[in-house]
Symmetry: C2
Subunit: 429 residues, 2 copies
């Protein structure tokens, strides 16, 4: 008999069906016993009345994997409105060692470090797996939105020859006896690929040797990168980012609705047709910061998030025109405003979620930018070469997937929405 | 005026339009000059008759990025059946340094090493970019097919604590002062995630410190991984692999038709509703190998590929039941045939493309398998823990994306279909 999932039960009332999954919970009452089965579709209630079956159920440990044949009977109080009667239970594999924390309680009571130590088990909890389903939907929505806009997916190197992009915080590697580094982002490669496809995106792991233990940094995270050519300036990039975000949230609504309910329910933010944008100088004023501050502190970002909510009813806010001094060397300056750039951040609920901007595209501008920072051109040779051979005006952005999901679901720590986080202290499981 | 792509020109005949892209080629004849423009849509022909405009065109180097306003005029001999007249050309950026090889010839005449040294330029050649478009479509098709089958996408660590999975050929890393390694596959993690979602897939980079310089190995490649629970045996895994392949080829047909034409045209193989399968012992007989061979050599695989084509009209062939001795410790044995496994390979046109199989799922079986190989359990602690806590029968497979595209397009070397390959000798660009 073909196995069905627990959420398919309503279509089989009155029939004998097969389900399979994990023993989520057992409740042994006087007259009756219940087995709650967990599978990819959710939870199913199995009713046991026959004494011998009840004895066998009493001996089953939580998390044991079982296959159950039973009769589907409507019951409004069961998880899907349908429960199974007259079950025949078969253990697949062997009885499970009971987990170190109860997976059947509404919320995991174990501390986050304990959950992370036992990640393969903790992730089985519906609230933990729900966050990862949302993450999967968001990544899919990002790709679909950019596919529709003519972007091409790329797969670029994670092992690079120079620790160039942000200087510090790189992991060093032995590459066949030569020094190499893990990529902190696909930045240079996505720019090079703009010379090939004009519009590219990449979804993949990036690596930062973050020496700080914070709730929003990981040593490996999933970066949603996009880059596009033939832009007039950074505003064309912001327009595509708006579409990507709308695609991500649309996919979460479409494909992870049950996961959103499990977590709250979580209400998804609207993405305004035009996300409000303020210039960096104006952002300082709104945040009450001194006008000569070179960057926004977290407290400023929070104040801006509140302002955007209050003044524009928006969870999203662009801050444009960051000072050149605080942006990477490849950032395009604002031609109309010396010292300021065509670089932007997108704040989501008062936290920086996306960094992006227009990039330099003339070879001579790159040489001048590196010279101004006192940097040699040697380590950038392969990158710079492309600009000598004709590159269009372009720009792009990068979204941190885990940070997006954490902010969306209200998770206090990005590790809650990461399957197997890597950080200063954690290299396993 | 909104820019259009060259392949959109037929809809604008008689109108004044803006195009932009790279100077692909110039042809200066006596009475007339032609500029061939390359953009994301393909090629467009611009006709220059006005003497001053002709002089300016003569001074433009190949690969310079330009914007052109012109009048769309039907002409059957032009690339899209439409060419632009009375052009006004504006250089975006600065004149390009001419490339070290001609990008406008039908095929790149530079050697592959030279192409790879100048990858950002070589990839602009329509044949090189076509292969990457096919690659993007194939990866998208893989995900779509598995999404339809209820799989959830995962993002798992690329930095791991033990060099366990295949022992040799791992890259070592300094992880905050501790030894760590780059993941050779997401094998362990996808199995752990089967305990969470039942069906998972992951598309991402994996790393092998391949000490051999061959045409089919890379130090980093893109692995298309899938794993599914509640299988009866490896045949359920093979059925899902068949759907994934059909999805990949369907997406290539739908989304990369022009790229297929550029490369040949390339004819896509049919995926049989039931891909033929032979047991390993039978495969040895067909290949004319001694019956005690423990594995298939490349020559055997080629012979099997020819056999499958001849006998079944299929480019694909499953070889099942590989000897346990040649498969990883987590491989499930064939219960009916001691010494043989429920592991399989899929050959595509006589080359191994996919490895997969049913895995062990009982904790005791893992302990016994490691003991039989004389391996300690310590390095596998986090992995084994999940099996103690209840894991369903499961299996999965991994497809090498670059190898798939190379075999599909007839590329002799996997580096021809990889944007920025990494190998024993190559760490840049």
């Amino acid at each position: 008999m073909q196995r069905i999932l627990s959420n398919e039960l309503p279509a089989y009332v009155g029939e004998r069906v097969t389900v399979a999954g994990w023993v989520h919970r057992r409740r042994l009452l006087k007259a009756v016993a219940f087995l709650i089965l967990r599978d990819a579709g959710g939870l199913a209630q199995i009713v046991v009345t026959e004494p011998e079956a009840r004895d066998r159920l009493a001996a089953l440990t939580e998390e044991t994997v079982v296959e159950i044949v039973g009769t589907a009977v409507a019951n409004d109080t069961a998880p899907t409105g349908v429960e199974l009667h007259e079950p025949v239970v078969r253990v697949l594999g062997s009885p499970a060692v009971p987990p170190p924390f109860d997976l059947y309680r509404p919320t995991l009571t174990a501390t986050l470090p304990t959950q992370l130590d036992h990640a393969p088990l903790a992730l089985r909890h519906p609230r933990r797996s729900a966050a990862l389903r949302i993450s999967a939907a968001a990544a899919g929505g990002f790709r679909s939105a950019l596919d529709r806009l003519g972007f091409v997916e790329t797969h670029t190197p994670r092992i690079v020859a120079s620790a160039t992009e942000s200087g510090a915080n790189v992991f060093a590697l032995d590459y066949f006896g030569r020094p190499a580094y893990l990529a902190q982002s696909p930045q240079f490669y996505k720019q090079l690929m703009v010379g090939v496809f004009e519009r590219v995106y990449e979804v993949g792991p990036v690596f930062r040797a973050e020496p700080h233990d914070t709730v929003r940094h990981l040593a490996q995270y999933t970066s949603l990168d996009a880059e596009l050519a033939f832009v007039a300036d950074h505003r064309d990039v912001m327009a595509v980012l708006r579409e990507a975000l709308a695609g991500m949230l649309g996919a979460v609504a479409d494909r992870a609705g049950a996961a959103l309910d499990t977590l709250g329910p979580v209400a998804l933010p609207e993405v305004p047709a035009q996300i409000p944008a303020v210039h960096f100088t104006e952002a300082l004023r709104i945040a009450g910061a001194p006008p000569d501050e070179p960057d926004l502190a977290p407290a400023h970002e929070r104040a801006l998030g509140e302002w955007a909510r209050r003044e524009h009813g928006s969870g999203f806010l662009f801050v444009t025109g960051y000072p050149m001094a605080k942006r990477p060397f490849y950032t395009h300056p604002d031609p109309a405003r010396p010292g300021y750039s065509n670089g932007f951040d997108l704040l989501f609920r008062g936290v920086e979620l996306v960094t992006g901007g227009q990039r330099l595209h003339r070879h001579a501008d790159y040489l001048a930018a590196l010279a101004a920072r006192g940097e040699p051109t040697g380590p950038y040779a392969g990158y710079l070469d492309a600009f000598a051979h004709g590159m269009p005006p372009h720009g792009g952005f990068a979204i941190g997937l885990e940070r997006f999901v954490a902010r969306l679901t209200g998770a206090a720590n990005v590790r809650e929405v990461t399957a197997f986080p890597r950080d200063l202290h954690r290299l396993t499981p």
